[in-house]
């Protein structure tokens, strides 16, 4: 009899472990979106010291531009390339004409301006695409599930984890291996040095803002099959990105990555074990970080430190 | 020999990989006017910031009247009786000279009173005017601090520091940017203030402090090079070498 109970127990442990792994993977997939959004936010803050309150609306814009491209050419992969370019360019125009006049005028001003900008983007999308939202299916080649040995996992979420990893590597190469990246890293540490070197700082800032916004747009497109596409889809994202940034440490790209995954995993586990606490769990995490490590897990020592 | 008012034991300060101060131990006394000197980059400002609580040392302890004050919050220093002036003028630029001193004096009396009108505290006005008179700014008391001449701002800074009735006054290059004439006047004022309290002075120009100090501390490369009376310092072999080329 006793070995039967042990067998049951072992099976129970096995099931729990599988579920644990599944939740972990789901959390990482969820976190991948947070990582992309928070990276853009942190990149922009790290160099321009601007908290971009319009970030979530560029996220939403990314989903809409993606839906538009797919409606036009019907190809998800083309949208994947097109969205960051289009949204990034829109971001650069905003930087050039709206944000640039505010440099050196205190940190609240660009923040408030970007908030207004976000409202404008939101309302324009409502005017052009309607308030109801539009359908956005998972691309056929990425729908269904794959057998990971221990459990079946949605193919799209696996793709999400993969593409985020690719983007991270690409961003890392950009920052480590290109002259722009060098300037960005130097600029994040000491703006005076960049100016002394005689580099046109405003051009660097324009590019950084564009890259940050492109990341937000891309995240919006990637989130579209999961979260759906509607004008208000960005609203919770802003708050989520703030939580990630506070947890990870403002301006720290490494912190954004770790905190994004951490928040994703936290939300995934609480929504499985205590569903009513799902939304609150990330705020509790943030509160804990604020109490014990007010500057965030990875402070602000420099980019990718 | 009196008990040390401020005692520094084994203090080091590192910024990343850079060691700004290493293992400094000194006692400061209430009845002395001690000057901290040293060439540029000797660690004077860092040392001053550790003494005045602007940031904690990486290692070591600071005691004040026998009490450990290492890492104590900045605002507590004024209440313990340690006041400081900043190297770069640091005032409330939009307030008048009078209001600058008055708000500093108010900190000793009331900080969280949200009820009584400020105008009721007449004694603060009297105190502010008295301090302005002491530093020679009484006639300029209604001028906006930001509009005062540099020398006057430095004097106002002293008056603001005095408002908390300190037992110990820490001054970071009080004569920075002053003409020789103004600097001499400032030194006279400091000497006058020393009658009632201990003073620690950071000064770049060695010549200025030799006459008025009764104790000199020399820093070099973040280390304590020498400590003694002006006479001892003047004849100190190492100090002479460090200051080679400068008239001692």
């Amino acid at each position: 009899m006793w070995f039967h109970s042990i067998g049951l127990l072992l099976r129970g442990v096995r099931v729990t472990f599988d579920l644990f792994l599944l939740q972990l993977f789901t959390g990482v997939a969820l976190g991948a979106i947070y990582v992309l959004v928070a990276l853009g936010l942190s990149l922009i803050f790290g160099l321009l010291t601007i908290v971009n309150f319009a970030h979530s609306q560029f996220f939403m814009l990314g989903a809409y531009v993606g839906a538009f491209i797919m409606g036009f050419v019907g190809n998800f992969w083309l949208a994947l390339v097109g969205v960051p370019i289009v949204v990034g360019l829109i971001g650069m125009v905003c930087e050039r004409f709206l944000i640039r006049p505010l440099y050196g005028r205190g940190i609240d001003y660009p923040l408030l301006l970007t908030f207004g900008l976000g409202l404008i983007i939101l309302e324009i999308v409502r005017m052009l695409a309607g308030t109801a939202g539009i359908p956005f299916g998972t691309p056929p080649s990425l729908s269904g599930a794959v057998d990971l040995g221990v459990f079946f996992f949605p193919k799209y979420r696996l793709f999400l984890i993969g593409i985020t990893a690719v983007i991270l590597v690409g961003l890392w190469l950009f920052l480590e291996r290109t002259s722009y990246g060098l300037i960005i890293r130097a600029g994040a540490r000491d703006q005076e040095i960049v100016q002394i070197l005689g580099i046109d700082v405003s051009k660097v800032w324009l590019v950084v803002f564009g890259v940050g916004i492109a990341l937000a747009g891309l995240a919006g497109l990637l989130a579209a099959p999961i979260r759906g596409v509607f004008p208000e889809m960005g609203v919770p994202v802003l708050v989520e990105a703030f939580v990630v940034t506070v947890v990870g440490g403002m301006g720290s790209l490494f912190g954004a990555v770790v905190a994004g995954l951490l928040v994703g995993i936290t939300v995934s586990f609480t929504s499985f074990y205590f569903p009513q606490m799902a939304t609150l769990s990330m705020f509790l995490l943030m509160a804990l970080v604020l109490i014990f490590r007010p500057r965030g897990l990875f402070g602000r020592a420099g980019l990718l430190d | 020999m009196t008990e040390a008012i401020l005692s520094v034991q084994g203090v080091s300060k590192r910024f990343g990989g850079f060691t700004a101060l290493s293992d400094i131990s000194i006692d400061f006394h209430r009845d002395r006017l001690t000057s901290i000197i040293g060439p540029n980059g000797a660690g004077k400002s860092t040392f001053f910031n550790v003494l005045s609580g602007a940031f904690p040392p990486s290692e070591g302890k600071v005691h004040y009247n026998g009490r450990d004050i290492t890492g104590v919050a900045q605002h507590r220093f004024a209440h313990m009786g340690i006041a400081k002036s900043f190297q770069i003028t640091n005032l409330f630029p939009l307030l008048s000279a009078h209001e600058n001193v008055r708000i500093a004096a108010q900190a000793m009396q009331t900080r969280f009173n949200i009820w009584t009108p400020r105008s009721r505290f007449r004694e603060l006005d009297e105190k502010a005017d008295a301090l302005l008179e002491l530093v020679g700014l009484w006639d300029k008391r209604h001028e906006t601090a930001g509009n005062l001449a540099h020398g006057a701002q430095r004097s106002l800074e002293i008056a603001v520091a005095l408002a908390c009735e300190p037992q110990l006054l820490l001054l970071d290059e009080p004569t920075a940017g002053m003409s020789p004439e103004e600097a001499r006047e400032m030194m006279d004022l400091i000497l006058k203030l020393h009658a009632e309290r201990g003073i620690i002075l950071v000064e770049h120009r060695m010549k200025l402090v030799m006459g008025i100090s009764n104790r000199i501390v020399v820093l070099h490369h973040g280390q304590l090079l020498a400590e003694g009376t002006p006479e001892e310092i003047r004849t100190h072999e190492e100090v002479r070498r460090v200051y080679l080329g400068q008239t001692v």
Partner: protein
């Protein structure tokens, strides 16, 4: 938080007794008797607005903006979470009336107390975060309040809002005020707002008001003088939350329902906009901002549903071209 130089460049309605700047006699008179001037203005306001309910909204949101301005304009910290205090004031006052049948004079202070408690906790957490974090953290923490109220349907009504906050009449010393009559309601609320304004002015004139001014001008120096920066900011945040909570509680009594939108982050943004529009750090600015904002909203929402587009554009315009706001610019021109 803005740089020191930037703050200093902005005109602030200085509260010190020694006023250096010469202003025209009328403005000077208004500045000296600012509470009285505000009350006189508010007494005639309902005769100038298209309808009384709008005047009541101006009254309530004006108070909300004044409370917010304590932390934004006077303490120099941009909070993006004040909807939490306005909303909790509204729910804290509305729930005792609607669910437990409490009289209004018990419910109103309860609402203010709930808002104050939330401000104490959120403020304590947010002030630990330095500088630019503050706006993000206050926004994030206020979202907690939103989610909790949203999910606690049995108590709060959730998405549909809280219904049945009926205060039909108020009895004061045997005098029965009919709160269903908009004019009576306006003046009843005005009495409470007037007391709040007097309290607010008193705070600005107190030693604490002076400390706020000193910290905004030079934080380092204020700390060296012996002022506890975090403690001072926390108290300012708490007081600001109390005023916002009072505004929310009055809003619940005015509407007889509490919509969930009171807690929405857009409501936090509205109050930033009002303070900015009128002139941050000035005594009358926020009220003026509330007035102009609500009038604009009233006119534009009749014409188009895309009101938020105008709000967004107004934000951008104000920041780029008109950062002093209406009253702030007026003061600035007067001084020149």
């Amino acid at each position: 938080m803005s740089s020191k130089a930037e703050r200093n460049a902005l005109d602030v309605d200085r509260t010190g007794e020694q006023r250096q700047v010469r202003m025209p006699a009328l403005i000077d008179l208004i500045a000296r008797h600012r509470v009285l001037a505000a009350i006189v203005f508010l007494m005639v306001l309902p005769w100038a607005t298209p309808y009384e309910a709008l005047a009541i909204n101006i009254l309530i949101f004006g108070l909300y903006a004044i409370g917010f301005n304590l932390i934004f304009g006077y303490a120099g910290m941009l909070s993006f979470g004040h909807a939490a205090f306005f909303g909790l004031g509204a729910y804290g006052c509305g729930i005792p009336i609607a669910k437990f049948g409490f009289p209004w004079f018990v419910a109103l202070p309860l609402g203010v107390a709930v808002a104050g408690l939330a401000a104490a906790i959120i403020g304590w957490l947010a002030i630990r975060a330095r500088g630019i974090y503050f706006a993000m953290v206050t926004l994030a923490l206020s979202q907690i309040v939103y989610y909790v109220v949203f999910q606690w349907v049995s108590l709060t009504g959730g998405e549909d809002g809280l219904r049945g906050v009926a205060v039909n009449s108020i009895d004061i010393f045997g005098l029965r005020l009919n709160m269903l009559d908009p004019m009576t309601k306006y003046y009843a609320i005005l009495v409470i707002v007037a007391v709040a304004l007097w309290l607010f002015s008193r705070i600005l004139n107190s030693p604490f008001g002076g400390v706020l001014e000193a910290i905004r001008e030079n934080e380092k120096r204020a700390a060296a003088c012996g002022y506890d920066i975090k403690g001072t900011r926390w108290l300012a945040f708490l007081l600001s939350g109390l005023f916002s909570g009072l505004a929310g509680a009055l809003y619940a009594m005015h509407l007889s329902v509490v919509p969930i939108e009171t807690l929405h982050y857009f409501n936090s943004a509205i109050v930033v906009m009002m303070a900015l529009l009128g002139g941050m750090g000035t005594f009358f600015g926020p009220f003026l901002g509330a007035l102009v904002y609500l009038l604009l909203e009233d006119i534009i929402t009749v014409i188009t549903v895309h009101w938020q587009l105008f709000v967004g554009a107004l934000f951008v315009f104000l920041i780029l071209f008109f950062p002093r706001g209406i009253w702030g610019s007026l003061l600035h021109w007067m001084k020149q």
